[in-house]
Symmetry: D2
Subunit: 358 residues, 4 copies
């Protein structure tokens, strides 16, 4: 089965295994005339490892934009981005190729595919989300044209509430703890999408939050999605939970945002707010129960590859990327065609017959 | 934009407004030779209102299977099911057509579409999920052939934990309370999908839980999705959260199921377990803040239409339906073609040349 | 497998068998605010049998619009149209249920599905294109807003060239001949799509002509598609075949239209012109070779059901319908959102906040 | 709009411009366990220029398989193939960037996209079909497992009928002629797809021939598609055109194949046979009418880039590739999962729990 494409009109297909030659993405459906430079991609990829203290595999993301961009602007054809893999240590995985790592996809890949690439997590590796980040960088360019802003925050790390002053300390502590205990921790992330135009989303099976939830739940390590005050809603009465409808600056909106920015699956102005938990990185140095698939005997195994003490900060970047992709796709599903007016006059070739364009 | 179709190969398209002539669904991609009777659909539709005490609009679901079935078995063509609307009280909605109901889609439909059907919630009404239940009944037939069982439970109703002995009492109490206070409550549902074959789901953007989450988050009133012990995962260490891999009955599985039945987005045997909150029915008799859209003045309004004191029990039925649709679709995406061997020999026309079939 | 949907954004799903209770379609993705009355559908359905002389089964198309339209305008939700079957003579088919009719789908349906509805051609019957005509009527409303005109002509009937003066005579003659010989004939149709905006179509796998060709080749009885002077192109030199590029009325176009209105798969102003052959109606009263599938013995059979002496005039109406669907879909793929300005002021509810719409 | 993907389950997305860094494809949905080597791709790419005499731009196709394959077998993840561009002569195109070449997409790309890559035909160049050939090579591996054979023949070249003995002479003559006259010619190709299992295709909008026609009509330079004796069908009677149904070797088939291997859009055994015309390569050295888009004045222009005297032999290779993709996709749509039994025992990791696989 296929299953590596996200989006309906703005379509991102990612490819690549953790220890293969390269990983990458093809973005089909990006309109022509959007300014897009190497730097736009690079600045997002550089965020891939925000806290090196928490991460063992750090590599420069050596990437190329191979198509779809000419003289600094998109040309409407598929944008192909490739990121070379390097700094791989495949040998370590040879020893554990017959003992699937708990919490990993090793077991299920074998069940589904029979023949697998056993090196470094293959397509299930966190490494592969670099492709998604690159595609998200392109989606963010489109979001920017509508002034859509995607703001993400870590609410919790390793069970500790994050506030403005203690983030660096928590990270140091978690890194230390992880090193000491050979164990890992998780966290909670909140994202706010601001300045969304109203009218995005469709009533039945493309509710805006459902497409967002789908994208978020496809990120490795994410098992929850909560829109607005969703969890509390189960214990509130409608008179408490319903957001009152009011006028504001000549427009209609709600005075609270418990619903999380959508009504009936459709946006209407307030920020779309959602939250999700990040599980602890599954790879740990502690011996865990597994099975030797050759002998079908129970055994113990410890991961030797590199791992992240806590990958919440990295998940945050991927979550922003998929959120941007969902926004770009829904903008275009709603008939929004990003304007090419940002192309400087001298660079454009606009003729009178263009007026006949659809 | 389109947006009324669920599924990739087993595709369900629903249509219809709450106070229109009828609602219905078209199921495209159901293989031939599946036994399907009126009764299979009816027995699911009859579950639509499990506790009439909690529901004001109760109507017999007067439905017809119009195509795709012949002499009790599917024939591989689209199955069209129509359910006539009746017992509608549209007049009540006329008075509030310019004052959008808080917690409803009234406001956003107007923003998105400009021209709307203001009667009874239109396409956003809970009424429309009857189409989804009908489609789910067909999907359950396919699930049954693989012995997949979808078990749902209400964990909480109106903030009260449900156990085996107190359900009827809670319902009575909530109905009473709602009548007294003119207010409504929500709940929490858990679903277990048992006997799923391993290998369903795809690594990148069709993870089994993401497609499930997408389906669940498209149900009116649902704003959360949690797979396995997802929420706890943020505060656990990997050594606690990872499910140990063990042998069992000659096969490989895990000794716990915190991950909720998937690894890397792919099923492997244990039940897929998930939970979600149901918000309180938004329609209440209490006056709430709204805006008169003609004058753009703040005002107050109370819903006069009928509403449910708590629609958790009804959401449960819809949630089972969409879960069955996701399972049927993923079965078929994985190349599973339901066998037509259930057709009695005498009803079949199987000739030697059939062996040439793909 | 699914396979009953046409279009990407403007999506038409048809359903129904020839001798079932009803046939119909669901149109998902039609924007809100398009004027749509019963009469718009009826006037197209009334064209279904343009020359009763050529057709045996004539029935009034007793249809209903069940959803998606309110007070004469679309509301953005799926439009469900149902057409009741009547005037069916199923008994005649019982006798031939084991001897597949040559030129029909009887044999292949049995091979693919095993269990089939053997009455009247089932889903392969020409009857089922009534659903497509109804959907095309909606697509034509969108085309009209962009002044796109779809003009079709019969170039040949039964091997005789049609000109303005001889059409009625040819039809009479073919009807007579068919009655006398118990045989049927075919024809050739040309369609011109005028006033298409430039820029429709996409370079690689959604070339405008490929999507058109796909739609046309899905009509029962059609096995060819030719764009512009396509057949001649194989025997011409580029200097003859290339359409010279010239200015015209301040715009750029070509002075001839051998390419048939597209370059690189994209429209640019000139009409899109294409042609296709219609095969003779396969049902005839002459005994033909077939096989008794119970005994697997060679035998002879003659169709007893009603049939058309020549169904070219009816195919023309279906071909217009699918052409309109492809145009509406490509318009919307290119970001064209049909304006709702045709809604009379008094019927609209447009508020200031609408300006915030995407 | 997107539009660079072919296929529903076996999905091929191509990307790349003629004079960009590289071109390539991503094949999503190829099952695991299919033997696939560099050589399988290379042997197809080597066919790209079958008659160098007819082609000016000849380059070694320097390609890499970047993902989806491990130790010689597919692993079920997307297969990314990249082909570096070289031997580009972009300067020549600078002179003509404002005067669109007749018969090319220069004009329509400008109309659609505004900002374009004016070098060498960009995404509309014949160069880009190398990606499609590479994807077709993978599809052919799947076809091979079902023994499906795709046989193509040139029926005509430059208006001359090709037979077994005269091909080389015709090619020499056309090359000479083209050099002398600075002009180009076209041709006619026939393809036979043999050993297709019965039951491929779906009744309404995925008829096997319609999906084939769609794929063929997306090849640059192709404007016609004819299945079986399609063109003749318009002038025949049903008693002549209908293929008689007969027994053969214990199976049921037809004694002739005028329908071209499908009935009702579904295959049943006989080869699927189709034909299409190839237009003369549009680039010629003869001065042709065009418009200077800066001044909007009529002018004349001659192409300076390299071109093919006749690209029919190259189109043949692409047509085989897209045919293979359609076959692989329809095989999988029909629930065929290519067996991985070709993996040598020692390379496989098959455990007992595999039996639980869907």
């Amino acid at each position: 089965m296929a299953g590596n494409t996200l989006g309906n009109i703005f379509r991102v297909t990612t490819w690549g295994e953790s220890h293969g030659d390269a990983i990458g993405c093809v973005i089909d459906g990006c309109p022509a005339g959007i300014r897009l430079s190497r730097q736009h991609i690079k600045s997002e990829l550089d965020r891939d490892v925000p806290y090196p203290l928490l991460t063992r595999r750090v590599e420069e993301n050596n990437f190329q934009i191979l198509s779809g961009v000419f003289e600094g602007y998109t040309i409407g054809t598929p944008i192909s981005i490739i990121v070379r893999n390097s700094n791989v240590e495949s040998e370590k995985y040879k020893k554990i190729m017959h003992t699937p790592r708990p919490g990993h996809a090793d077991l299920t890949y074998r069940m589904k595919y029979g023949h697998i690439d056993w090196r470094g997590g293959s397509r299930a590796s966190g490494r592969t989300w670099v492709s998604t980040i690159a595609a998200g960088a392109v989606a963010k360019r489109i979001c920017l044209l509508k002034k859509i802003a995607i703001k993400s925050t870590m609410l919790e790390l390793g069970g500790v509430k994050v506030d403005n002053n203690n983030l660096e300390q928590i990270i140091e502590k978690l890194a230390e703890q992880s090193k000491r205990d050979s164990d890992t921790t998780g966290g909670i992330i909140e994202i706010q999408i601001q300045n969304l135009p109203s009218g995005l989303g469709a009533p039945a099976f493309n509710r805006f939050q459902a497409d967002l939830g789908h994208a978020i739940l496809n990120i490795p390590g994410i098992k929850t999605f909560e829109l607005g005050d969703g969890l509390d809603s189960a214990r509130m009465r409608a008179s408490e939970f319903n957001d009152p409808i009011v006028t504001q600056g000549g427009s209609v909106t709600t005075s609270s945002n418990r619903a999380g920015g959508v009504l009936g699956g459709i946006t209407y102005g307030p920020p779309v707010v959602f939250r999700f938990a990040v599980k602890p990185t599954p790879s740990i140095l502690i011996a865990q129960k597994s099975v030797d698939l050759r002998t079908m005997k129970n055994t113990k195994m410890a991961t030797e590859g590199r791992f992240d003490a806590n990958y919440t900060p990295r998940v945050l970047v991927v979550a922003e990327a998929v959120s941007a992709i969902v926004c770009a796709d829904h903008l275009m599903l709603s008939g929004y065609v990003p304007q090419d007016s940002i192309i400087p006059r001298k660079d454009r070739l606009r003729y009178d017959f263009m007026n006949r364009r659809a």
